[in-house]
Symmetry: C2
Subunit: 547 residues, 2 copies
């Protein structure tokens, strides 16, 4: 049996547009004489469709397209199709894989394991399916599964999340092929995890595996494709692109013989992060209707890295950097920003905030002179926010917020100031990783894109004379691991102190994280990179007590 696999990049909610894409790839596959064409989880709605799933009209329209436009493609001598879609049964909604054959929906395979942790909310929408049956695909008994269904192996995971494992059921029924329709977003280490678990399953069940994943960015989540094919010995036969749509082909007999050539394993590293962030930024802009972006360039490393990502994603003509120095800005900040902008070939403008700052000081301070307090630091950041939003509102363009995860976590940022923007591309990237990414960008460019001084200067918000980040925060090489232990590993202060960090520092960091929840609640969408992003991945009360 020859199968075509379509790793596509749907736009959430765009049922018609996604359907057109499915048809295009189906037809292209059919020309290649395949028996079956497979698409990813919730292909027509895109994943995650969120509360669009609560609209009957949306579900009806999706079903209508499947019955009346997709199923007919499989009539006559056309290949069959397996597509991820919702399915209603006895007034309950399921997340399913639908087999379309000879013009009809031949069978449905409904998801059993519904992720409802971290960024996932599937229990909000779907019912768990408790009955699973293998599907005969051209005489090959197949375990037809949806995403999370394969992620609960008792032998592979020390603490499986769910009480049931649909693979046990399906392979006890004699399955010989594992076909998985996924929409699995990237986080650091995900590549490694997939490429450890899937060959483990292949060997355990002596089964070929075709793992098909969605590609593309949808709001905070970046789906990194990288669809995989393993033979029954767990040898990797194919890995699809991590950033592009792709149609690829598998002859099932190849899954049951030793591999002639195996694909080397993939390990997440900083180049993966670069690829994921670029894809996420590109898709967020395109899918929300923006061709170009605007960002403040401070001369510092965060805005430099975001400018590089935006240029990689959209091209230099579609990126505009605004330099907005104040009386407290260092001399080199504008120079460094200009150098970066010229290296990237992006438009840049200089708009000083000194005049509006002075006007506000005259208006708000009885003395008419600056008091250099926290309120005035925030005011400067907000005047910059005003300017960026004004340019966006007048000329168009998506504003990018340039904050990193470390400062975002401890609230070292100004709400409605440097936090303004529709997207915060690196707000899930710890500061130390921002440095790694900057170095990597310069490395692969074979020339200095980000100026040396930007890489080496002492981090500063430049909101008062001689200010440095370390006046308020521990050094980032201490802050970042503490944040990792607290936010990702969810350790207590005592546990973190026991790992060798200074008690006062740990307690202060935790206090800062807890107290700044209100800022994060109003933050721009960030691109998820870690296992605990500070958006939908971490849901904390705002008004609360502390122990």
């Amino acid at each position: 049996m020859r199968i075509a696999l379509a790793q596509l990049n749907p736009t959430i909610g765009a049922l018609n547009q996604n359907k057109e894409k499915v048809i295009k790839y189906f037809k292209s596959a059919a020309e290649n004489k395949v028996d079956l064409v497979v698409f990813t989880e919730l292909s027509l709605s895109g994943y995650p469709p969120r509360d669009l799933l609560l609209y009957d009209s949306f579900l009806n329209r999706e079903r209508d397209l499947i019955v009346n436009e997709l199923a007919p493609l499989t009539a006559g001598s056309g290949p069959a199709m397996i597509i991820g879609a919702t399915h209603r049964k006895e007034s309950k909604l399921y997340n399913g894989a639908l087999l379309l054959e000879k013009g009809k929906i031949k069978s449905v395979h409904l998801k059993t394991l519904l992720p409802n942790f971290d960024v996932f909310d599937e229990e909000r929408y779907f019912t768990r399916c408790t009955e699973r049956k293998v599907e005969m695909l051209d005489n090959l008994p197949a375990a037809l599964t949806v995403c999370e269904d394969i992620w609960n192996d008792n032998d592979f995971f020390t603490n499986p999340i769910y009480n049931t494992d649909p693979l046990v059921t399906l392979f006890s029924q004699g399955a010989r092929l594992l076909l998985n329709l996924s929409a699995s977003p990237y986080h650091l280490g995900k590549h490694n995890l997939r490429e450890e678990m899937l060959p483990f399953l292949a060997k355990k069940y002596n089964s070929g595996i075709i793992y098909l994943n969605q590609v593309g960015g949808n709001d905070d989540l970046v789906f990194d494709g990288s669809s995989l094919v393993y033979n029954h010995r767990g040898e990797l036969l194919y890995r699809a692109s991590a950033s592009e749509e792709e149609l690829f082909f598998v002859d099932t007999e190849d899954l049951y013989k030793p591999a002639e050539i195996t694909v080397p394993p993939d390990r997440d590293d900083i180049s993966t992060v670069l690829q994921v962030l670029t894809l996420g930024l590109k898709d967020y802009a395109a899918k929300s209707g923006f061709k170009n972006v605007i960002l403040g360039l401070s001369g510092g490393i965060d805005s430099a890295v975001v400018a590089c990502l935006a240029t990689a994603a959209l091209g230099p003509k579609n990126v505009m950097g605004i330099m907005m120095p104040s009386q407290y800005s260092s001399e080199h900040s504008v120079e460094d920003a200009v150098e970066l902008a010229e290296n990237l070939g992006i438009e840049h403008r200089l708009i000083s905030i000194e005049k509006p700052f002075r006007t506000f000081i005259n208006l708000l301070n009885e003395s008419g002179g600056a008091l250099q307090d926290l309120a005035e630091e925030n005011l400067q950041a907000r005047l910059r926010g005003n300017i960026l939003m004004h340019i966006s509102n007048r000329e168009g363009g998506l504003v990018l917020a340039t904050g990193n995860k470390s400062e975002f976590a401890v609230g070292y940022s100004t709400l409605y100031g440097d936090m303004v923007g529709g997207l915060a591309p690196i707000s899930d990237l710890p500061k130390m990783m921002v440095y790694d990414l900057a170095a990597h960008i310069n490395n692969i460019s074979h020339k200095e894109i980000i100026p040396e001084r930007t890489l080496t200067k002492v981090p500063s918000a430049e909101l008062r004379p001689d200010q440095k980040d370390e006046d308020s925060l521990p050094p980032y090489n201490i802050l970042d691991p503490i944040l990792f232990h607290y936010i990702e590993e969810k350790l207590s202060a005592a546990d973190i102190i026991a790992r060798g960090y200074h008690e006062d520092i740990v307690k202060n960091v935790i206090r800062l994280v807890d107290k700044s929840e209100f800022k994060r609640r109003q933050a721009a969408t960030g691109l998820r990179i870690t296992t605990s992003s500070l958006g939908a991945g971490r849901r904390m009360p705002i008004a609360r007590g502390y122990e």
Copy 2:
């Protein structure tokens, strides 16, 4: 058996402080010679604790307090205690009612039905308990249940959500008393619903019912107390306060004889809304550490109503109104704002935005003159936001955003402008209901608090000459029902048009709602009043396609 019921107002996460409160009420009840003292769902963590539940240290501390500080209170001749708390069993977490007796945890009753819709995320944290047993309380077999457990009756609800009903199990085991520990937040119609369903259950099962609810605001959710006691004939014997902590007593024999006096039913109306919003505002401020609030006073009805709520919640000394007219403000706007502030007895300041606006125009417009475009409208709103935040940052005080649900839904608001603030008290209140509330406030005050002109003037953002809301939006008496059909009832455009609304208007409203999701994602927390608030109650993709 004599039972004391404690309707308390916990602070989320404040384990120690909540425990002290539990001890205080327990001791007070014990002095009244009771056999049992009952507390609400998740009493020590407060509800909803959200991702605090993912911290082992938090769960361990909660359990430690129960075992070492609460259970000992029940030793010797002390009364027993039933308290809502988490419970771990075989590495799974449950939401339970714990019976403490003779110094120990005697038994646990774990929640079966886990709400995971609207604002609720219990599947994220808890496992469903499938085995339920009655508890003998002083020879009375009791159905000991937690909140949602009682909300799935097949005879009462046309479409019950869950496939199982723990009450069927418990009453088939001979339960004679239904005791429910709740943390059930208010929405419009909730009082009516409770007071229809509970007597229905009492009669169906021929059982007394004690329904004990949490009281107080926690972020967006306002828990409205109103704990209820029914006899086995479904007659209402007692209703607790909708806004205050309260300890009340029930003699169980009273539940099995005809009522001597029954309490008249309660119907939600605008006075309930006033009570709920006042409580929500008061608790949000107190629990996030603010004594006072700051808001912009435009002379319009929204800011007037928010000023009244704040004054009712915190007292006039703790409310400051800032009037920030521009060259486009009508003459009466400052007059009306001053009149309101004087009627309320709150501090008010006048800070014109004309000078900073002119400075920005000079800086950003080549001509140096105003262009009166959308960017400049937004700029004015953002300059006001700057001023409010500056006063808050310098002098302290929680900034209140004054937008209503109608404008919030269609994006008729400026991000980082009039949307700034830590809390948006009326952002879930449709504009027509804001008018009702304003009229009600004047009615119950027996004098004109909100000036007549504020109530009758044509709504305007006053961001350009002669601007009116109706230039951009349908009249609110048409907009509000369309929004209700789309957001709360989740009808499609076609369904709404079929109800008699003009096609162009409906499509335009839906387009505005869909396109402004990015603004709402960065909005201040609002107090939930409807069944579909625009915060955690509605989770929509931002970057998306449309059909």
